[in-house]
Amino acid sequence: MNRSRAAWLFLAPALLVLAVFFLVPVIAGLLLSLTDYDLYALADIHNLRFVGLHNYWELLHRPLFWAALGHTLYFVIAGVPLSIAVSLGAALLLNSPFARARAFFRTALFAPVVTTVVAVAVIWRYLFNPKYGVVNFVLVHLGVHPVDWLGDPHWAMPMIILFAVWKNFGYNMIILLAGLQAIPAELYEAARIDGASVWRQFRHITWPMLTPILLLVCILTVSGYFQLFAEPYVITEGGPLQSTVSVLYLMYDEGFKYWNMGTASAVAFLLFVVMFAATALMWRAGEAREAVA
């Protein structure tokens, strides 16, 4: 009895901070999404109407919302596996006993994570410039037809995905590297004595030992990638033909550019529902796997 009271007392500051800075805004946002709060309501509160689920209804009938959701899912489904594969590859290379200048490469590969999106995005815009960019220059020399990266609606999103992968893989790489280093060396030694090939060592030691960390990395990356905004905002401004407008981008336009706070809050909640479902699914998959193992 006394112990639990003490526990609550210790938890109180954290709970208070959570309530004030997280719970209250979330509830306020939910209430806001049920109203048509906009410029007119800002001018005169009598112009504020309770509209129930109208904002959600309206959004679900808007082609741009579905397009934005499609672009976001495309980004997540293509970007997350690619990003984790690159992170894992880099981590394995760094962890290999043959690796030289390990500290240098660790820093170099992590460097993109700490750069500013805006500054790097400007450079990427130059790299992918259809006329003068070095990427097309290389493609032409390889005999490939040059690609209009910034102007063709089919190629803009792949470019954004490449950018995001390059910018973010270092972060997961560090986490995975820590996971790799935590695997006991005796396991590999025993496997080698039994004559297991490098591939079998990876398949039966590295992979299962790394699964919990991979699940964590997956969940973090998925929730991060669902919040795609800065990359298209800086590189393509949502274009060409709105092919890089993400859900969060739509929310920004509605809320901060046009001051339709009701609609913007509804977009935010719909994104929350999608992300919640995706994360829950991944937990389930992870747990099922553990149960099987």
Binding site: D36, D38, L39, Y40, L42, A43, D44, N47, R125, Y126, N129, P130, K131, D148, L150, G151, P153, I235, T236, E237, G239, P240, L241, Q242, F256, K257, Y258, W259
Partner: protein
Amino acid sequence: MRIAHALRCAAFSVCVLLTACSQSDDRHTLQFWTIGREGEAVQKLLPEFRRAHPEIRVEVQQIPLTAAHEKLLTAYAGGSLPDVTQIGNTWVPEFAALHALEPLDARVAQSRDIDSHDYFPTVWATNRIDGALYGIPWYVDTRLLFYRVDLLREAGFDAPPHDWTEWQAQMDAIRAKSHGKRWGALLPTNEYDQLLALALQEHVPLLRDGGRYGNFQSAEFKRALSFYVGLFKRGDVPAYTNIQVSNPWEEFGRGAFVFYLSGPWNIGEFRKRLPASQQEDWNTAPLPGPDGPGDSVAYGSSLVIPRTSQHKQAAWELIEYLSRPYVQQRFYELLGDLPPRRSAWESTALKNDHELHAFREQLERLAPAPPVPEWEQIVNMMQETAARAIAGQLTIDQAAAQMDAQADAMLAKRRSVLSREEKVRP
């Protein structure tokens, strides 16, 4: 002893500071917000105002252009708008709808400095919402043609075009003579100014019933839209966004395109970025219209007094000072911003500048955008839909119908607010 002395000194200086503060409160401290580079230039204009009004202390605050709109709205929401502020004239309807601005009609009627007839009428009118005047134009801005004199001559034309037909013929000739190496013009497909200017030339409002519904399915708008989309379809203009062409000045210098539809700041950019040998090769021309020289967009910045200001008279005196023709001429010399008053254009600096002549002419032919708070959202939607038509995803009729449908949806709240207001005051 020493400590006591230090304490006494500190106490004394605090007293001095306090009295100093209260003194400056007695005088008017005028908060003046500017957007972008205007803030630096205005500092150089203020000493004379300070001499004439020693009792007024002006505090200039610069807000960056990209954040200006949000910052002003947030300041309104938080009740912390300044005493005077610069504001884009397309934002005036929005802030008037918020009841954030002080009407200025009575002050203008009594003013010796500000004569409404001296201003370019369309720019003046953009500050008038539902019959009340909310802002005084500070500088004007419009869009017209920048063109390569030498390349146009090479294609066989001595003068820039007067109407759409002539313009199109010139661009066709440029394409043909250069064997497709040069484009006729650069009109970035993610900028709405160009289509807006062409559409305003038709003199048919883009919204109908007092800004309650879209009017994009009018025959006139469709004519402007099909001319605009046609330029891309004919191959005279490339379907590029301004992200694909990151350095239009260099491309213009290289002769990648002959016409560029843009604003007055590019006079300075071309002078700075093109080599001296090319300075004779470019000029500006008024915007060609459907039948003869046409209108262009009436942009610019205005000075406004928020309703919440405690020093409205002092704020007005500052606006009057900044509106004097000779102050505006100095402002032009400092920054290149175009004066909104005809008399300010009488200075030799402005008269002798031959690249400015087209602007002087264009300023007499301006058309305002519809004065509704939702305009920014509507015009962005218009351009996004037009870009789909350029890409071949929509026909002209489909695009116009979509624009109307979306504009009607964006204006739904406005319709309900207006009908409620009508019920309140019959």
